[in-house]
Symmetry: C2
Subunit: 160 residues, 2 copies
């Protein structure tokens, strides 16, 4: 069996059934504005639905981006597994801008530049699976930005 990182007490205190109280809100789960140093993101919130337990060393989070909001443009060594659950929008994956819609599954490999934008007039919501242990996201340097902007569609997408 795989790794088991957290004390059993933590796993035992987890509810087995987290009920949805209204659309994309859950009983007892706080809605966190997604805060970082700086202002690299806009109108995005986060809820932690599973903190990792047993042989599942992963967190499950739900992110919601209001219309015209976006996530931070970043990359990191850890991977993301994303399932869109509401709304259409666009996502930067490395050097491509791709449209997404509900139920699309997006797998962001390590060190892939990425950014989600709710740029289609709809609130966007997605589930995101990440490892419990993960490195801090990296923001692009001026050199990284110059490279990203060398692709016109990307330059248009990541504009402030």
């Amino acid at each position: 069996m795989a790794i088991h990182q957290e004390p059993l007490a933590r796993a035992e205190s987890l509810p087995s059934h987290l009920t949805s109280t209204e659309a994309f809100r859950w009983e007892g789960i706080d809605v966190h504005p997604y805060k970082e140093t700086g202002s690299h993101f806009r109108s995005i919130s986060r809820q932690i639905l599973f903190p990792g337990a047993h042989d599942l060393p992963v967190e499950l989070r739900y992110f919601e981006i209001d219309v015209d909001g976006h996530s931070t443009l970043e990359r990191h060594h850890h991977a993301h597994l994303v399932v869109i659950v509401q709304g259409s929008g666009e996502v930067l994956i490395r050097d491509r801008v791709e449209a997404f819609r509900p139920h699309d599954v997006i797998h962001l490999a390590p060190m892939t530049w990425h950014q989600f934008r709710a740029n289609q007039g709809e609130t966007v919501g997605f589930l995101c699976v990440v490892n419990q242990e993960r490195d801090r996201p990296q923001r692009p340097t001026e050199e990284d930005l110059a490279l990203l902007r060398s692709v016109p569609a990307v330059a248009q997408f990541i504009r402030p």
Copy 2:
């Protein structure tokens, strides 16, 4: 960082973006009837949306249970993390029968008896995260069944 079990080639061959072609079907993903020895399940299909890669040693599967269908009554040492994405139904979790609806999150700890039933007149669909490495499910013995049936709501729920 966490374990990394699969060869890089496997991860590199994964699509970064799996598009939803219609409701709960994905481009290039086969729909598998959920087969086992015996007839412990009914009207359930499975799609594998992510096989595990990088620092995410987990599979993401989508299961769909047609109206009046059910999953196998089983337990195992590996945990399940489930997110309901369509339909209402009921689930057995250890010795309780609980109603669920879309977006409920159900966390099945190791060795928890469980069974999902689409018994509310609706097709049920759920995402399920499991470890890539996992033990085989156990079916209840006659002794286990007797214990389960000692709770009237459970006896009613698991009836053939």
